[in-house]
Symmetry: C2
Subunit: 412 residues, 2 copies
């Protein structure tokens, strides 16, 4: 097991040891945000017929070549077509057929004149404008042709992509299954949220934050709060083992006498990959494989717990979901104030973002409460290993944390 490695090496080692899992089939409405495991081609032409883009009249363009407000042309109204009605209709020169948006274009017509340029008098349509060939006609297959590729393996299913896939005739898709996580908070001092708090104890706030991140990403998980007893920790790990793809523990990462997690997983035969990383916060983080499942040993201190989760564990989960490992978008921002770290270490600094006339401003947190600083941050400033400080005024890429949307509801 490597120890005290640089952050970049830790991230690479983590990603080298995780992979996307099985696939599953889901209906389109259940698949938003998921990643396709195979290319998808269209089963149909869409539109399946050539239709009108407007409410108006199907015409022969040549009939209207001289039509204008001053010289209207009169056509004989010989029928009507509405959307969804596919009786074949035929018309000839000198004739017009009433069409609504989405209606089949009658045989013999090759343009639609919008109703705003017409007036109906009994069975005559009076036209005040020309209508060149193809005018206001949506040709069969314009949006999708049968056998067209409409999505590729690895594509994330956005709402608009799902619309295209629906139009292409698919009712379900094969996607990457979500990894299932076990989140285990350890420590005699840890109390479940909302329970009475004896003196000296603290609430499992790390577990809540990690669970909330997993929820945001649609990752199913179970949680447990376990005291500092090796047997209890072992049982919590083994519980539901066959339904767990990734373990995330909080607390006991440091490796001192009361830090039992590393001893327990070693006894259970894990393969340790690394322990302790030159990152701040987050240094005591450990990572290995238990029964070939990724196992993250996160530190118990809230800022360390969060940063190890966001920078090492969440990228691994993204890869397991079939996505690239970038968790957060980055944006260029000017530092409002200097930040300092330590050469050889990668430091992550909480910051708020302000829009200014000169562009985005990143304001490093000076909040003393660790938990309030975490709750108020909107972005993370990254001080790389080769720098020990970044001066005020420098423009750097920050990780933007605030652009995420809420959790998903269920279709019913």
């Amino acid at each position: 097991m490597k120890t005290f490695i640089g952050f970049t090496e830790a991230l690479e080692l983590t990603l080298d040891h995780v992979a996307p899992g099985e696939e599953e089939e889901l209906t389109l409405l259940a698949a938003v945000g998921r990643v396709l495991t195979a290319d998808l081609t269209s089963l149909v032409d869409s539109p399946s017929i050539s239709t009108s883009r407007k409410d108006g009249f199907a015409v022969v363009p040549e009939d209207l070549s001289t039509a204008s407000r001053d010289h209207p042309i009169r056509l004989k109204l010989v029928g009507r077509c509405t959307a969804g009605d596919i009786r074949p209709v035929r018309m000839s020169r000198g004739e017009a057929v009433r069409v609504t948006t989405g209606a089949l274009i009658p045989a013999g017509a090759s343009a639609v004149i919008s109703e705003e340029f017409c007036r109906v008098e009994d069975s005559t349509v009076v036209c005040f404008n020309t209508a060149e060939s193809d005018r206001n006609i949506l040709q069969r297959g314009t949006d999708v042709r049968s056998k067209d590729k409409v999505a590729a393996r690895g594509d994330r299913l956005t709402p608009a992509r799902l619309g295209l896939i629906a139009a292409a005739g698919h009712g379900a898709v094969r996607v990457q299954r979500m990894p299932r996580a076990a989140v285990i908070a350890t420590g005699d001092e840890v109390v479940s949220p909302g329970m009475p708090l004896p003196s000296g104890k603290l609430y499992a706030s790390n577990m809540v934050e990690i669970g909330a991140w997993l929820s945001l990403h649609g990752i199913p998980f179970r949680t447990a709060v376990i005291p500092d007893r090796p047997q209890a920790i072992r049982e919590a790990i083994q519980r539901g083992l066959s339904e767990t793809d990734v373990f995330i523990t909080s607390g006991g990462a440091w490796g001192s006498e009361k830090d039992l997690i590393l001893k327990v997983v070693a006894d259970m035969g894990w393969t340790g990959i690394y322990h302790r990383v030159r990152m701040g916060p987050g240094k005591p983080v450990g990572f290995g494989l238990l029964d070939s499942r990724p196992f993250f040993v996160l530190p118990g201190g809230p800022p360390s717990n969060e940063m190890a989760f966001l920078q090492l564990c969440l990228p691994a989960l993204m890869k397991m979901m079939g996505l690239g490992p970038s968790v957060f978008p980055t944006a260029a921002a000017r530092l409002s104030d200097h930040v300092h770290g330590e050469r050889g270490w990668t430091e992550f600094v909480h910051a708020r973002l302000k829009k200014s006339p000169a562009g985005l401003l990143a304001v490093p947190s000076r909040v003393k409460s660790r938990l309030k600083s975490m709750a108020e941050k909107q972005s993370l400033i990254v001080i790389p290993e080769d720098r020990d400080e970044i001066p005020a005024g420098e423009v750097i890429d920050v990780q933007v944390l605030t652009s995420t949307v809420g959790p998903a509801g269920a279709a019913s």
Copy 2:
């Protein structure tokens, strides 16, 4: 009912007629992304006692004022404290107590020396460094003091905010209830996804895209595909009326003879607010109140349907969720190519985003397939009413659509 109004007026009218609904109580892990309906204050001090930040030894700082590698100081090891153990321990000058991270600081001690600066010899601790007062001690209440405000009414519950609320002693929170949507696709030509497609019909791709957007935002919804019969449309609207907070229909917005929605809702006694907006795509959109519930009549053409949903309906849903109406973050981007609209109209243009050394580049879509253009867009260029084109090279704020995360899973 106003008609043919500008986009800005349409958005203002929409927001003026919607409001956040009832509140509900949720456990912390179910509340991610939700909006608080009341300020929250802390019920406890966190930490609840003063504890060690390090594995090391609790000491009296004065004892070590001259300690160094060359002149180590020897202290008598008189006990140990571990995290979660709250037996009162007392120590005096010349003594040290072994402490783990999170352990209660013994009475009489006022600093912790990290174990890396110590060596234990039987019952003696040999110290190689000084430890000024408060060194490595996390004081009671540092993160949160009892009665501190930890979150405000209107705050969106991010993962880190939920961690803070957990640490403050809350196990559940009162939040804005999600609006419940009914999504109704109308048209004789519309077929549910995955069913066989008769010639002339098309799949309900609009319904799938809207459902996917609602899922991403955690908004529960029901869907229906209804033919062009007034009674069927009326029944679809009335079905589950008492459990519906907002109606979204697709198709039949134009108002021609087959466009029945507006007639049906008028018959049902709705209050029409506007119909037809100077926006492209999206012009035929209508909006009103049915039984005081917001009712959106979206056009059936896919680009119009999507844009009216994203720019008018989704902002209304955001307000109903207790959020600000901004749906998408904006970013400054340089136009790679000119775009043109029409003066007096607000035009929305699909664009892809490219990172370039000179900053973000917005590349307007030239894809002929409407559905592919929609699926491939990463941002929207907005051409405001007072411009009829924006030249290549101009830097404008674009709406960024790609930074959303996936749907939520459930804690188990």
